[in-house]
Amino acid sequence: MIEQIQSVLTNWDAMLPVLPQLVVSGIAIGMLYALIALSMTILYRATTVVNFGHGDLVMLGAYTLFILLPMVTFNITLESSALSSLVSFVPPYLVALILSLCVLFAMGYIIHRVFIWPILKGPHLSLALMAIAIGYAVRGVIRKEYGKEILQMPRPFPEQEFEVFNWGGIGTYMTLDEIIFCTVVIVMLLISYIVFYKTRFGQIVQAMFQTQRGASLVGINVMHHNNLIWGVGCSLGALGGVMIGLTLVLDPDVGTWTLLRGFAAMTLGGFGSLYGAVIGGLIIGILEKVLGVFVSTAFIEITCYLVIVLVLLIRPRGLFGQHATLRI
C-alpha cells in the first residue's frame, strides 16, 4: 500500500490530467449514493430508525420496474435508430417507473404500519433486526423468482457519451445515463429541500424528528405521517434502485452494496441531515473513483467501510449531524 501511495506521488504529473474525469465520474456515482442516503435519512428523520433493510427495498424498486416494463410496453416495436427508440420506449418506461415508485410507496407505507409502528417504542435493536428481517425476506422472494441470475435492465435511452469540458487537450466525458441521473437526483434534492424545509408537511416531519410525543401533543397524527414518510423514502430508494439497475446489473444481492454506500454517506454527512447525506454521497463517490485509480482498485470496494470506521472514530456525528446544546 505504501509503495502504491509513493508511486502516486512520484507519478503525480502523469496522473493529474485524468483527475477531472475521475471527479466527474465520482460525482455521477456519488449522486446515486446521495439519493440512497437521502431516502434513508428521510426514514431516519421520521422514526429515528436506520433501515438496515433499505438496500433490499432499493433492489426491489429496480426489479419492480423490470417486472412491470413488459406489461406496459405491449405492442410497441423498438426501432433501430436511437431517436425512434427514445420516442417509442421512453413513455412506457416512464409509466413503468411511476408504477414502480407507487408500488414501493405502498410497500414502505405498509412495512411501517404493520412491522415498524407496533414496535417503534421498543429497543432500537428490535427495530434494526426487524428492518434486516424485512430486507432478507424481500431478497428471498426475488431470489426464489429469479435465482442468483444476473439480469440486464432494459435501457430507456441509447448509450452515448458527451464531452463536458476539455483541459489541455484531454477531454472529460459524461455518459447520457450520468447526465440524466445527475439531473434527476438534483431535481429530487430540490423537491426534497422544498418539501422538508418550506412546507407544512416539512414542519410536521421536523417536529416528529424532535419528539414524537411532542408532535402528538400538538395534534399531529404521528403514525399516519410516519407511514407516509416511509412510503416516500422507499419510493426515493426505488428510484435509486432503477438507476443502479441501469448503471450496473440487476442482482438480488445488490442491496448490500447499496446499503453500505447509503449508510456510509449518511454516517459521513451526519445522521438526520438531508444535505449531509447528499454531500456524504458525493464525497464517497469521488473518493472511490480517485483512490480506486490512483492508489488501488481495492479502494472502490473498501472506501465506504473506511469512511464508516473513520467517521465513527473521529467525528461520530458526521459533518452536519446535530449537536445538542444544553444549558445547565
Binding site: R200, Q203, I204, Q206, A207, Q210, T211, R213, G214, S216, L217, V218, G219, I220, N221, V222, M223, Q322, A324, T325, L326, R327
Partner: protein, 236 residues
Amino acid sequence: MDSNSRLHIADLVAGYGHNVVLRGVSLQVNQGEIVALLGANGSGKSTVLNTISGFLKPTQGTVHLDQQSITGIPPHKTFRAGVVQVSQARDLFSDLTVEENLKLGSIIKGDEALGLRQVFDYFPRLSDRYDQQVSTMSGGEQQMVAVGRALMSQPRMLLLDEPSGGLSPLFVKEIGEITARMKADGVTMLLVEQNLRLALEISDRYLILRDGKVIDGGSTDNLEGSHDDIVRTIYL
C-alpha cells in the same frame, strides 16, 4: 353529567400492560374551573392525564368533553377535540426556536396570530426570546414555552402535569400567577401538582387520588391552615 360539565370522567380503568393503575376514577371539571389532582407518587395522577389525552386506552369507563365522548381516541383526535396536555417532561421541540415551537402549537388547529398575541400577553419574556433555541433556555422559560405552545390552539380543556416541577421558587410563583390569569380568562384546567400550596392556591377544587381511585376532594375555599389534613390523606 350536568350541562356545565367541560370534562367528565366515569369509572375509568387503565394501565400499562397487566399493571392496572387507574381502578375506577370518576371526576368532573366544570367550565372555567381549575381542578387540582393531588396524590403521592405512583397514585396514578399522570396516568389520568395520559388516558384523557389518548396516550393510554382505558379498558373500562368513559371520558366526555362537552358531552361528546372522547373515550379511547388517539392523541391527535383528542387535541382536535380541544383537549391539550402540557406534559411533565414538556416534550418541547428542543432544537427549534421559541417561534417554531409556538407556531407548531397551532399547526393543526387554532388561530396562529391570536395564539401568539395571547401567549406574549401571558409570557412577555417569550417575545424577547423569540429566536432562541429552546434547549438553551432555563427550565422555567421552557415551561413557559410548553404552556404557551398548548395555548396556541385555544384549547377547551388544558391538562397541566406538574407545571412547577423542577422550577425555582421564583418561577413557581410566576407560573402560579399566570395560571390564575388564565383562569380569570376562562381557561378550564385539570392540574396535577406536587406543590400542595401552589395547587390549592390556584385551583377551585381538589381531588385526592390514591391507588388509582379518587378517595377525597372538595372546595379549596377556606382551606387556609388545614393543609395538614390533606397531606395526611394523601400520604397516610
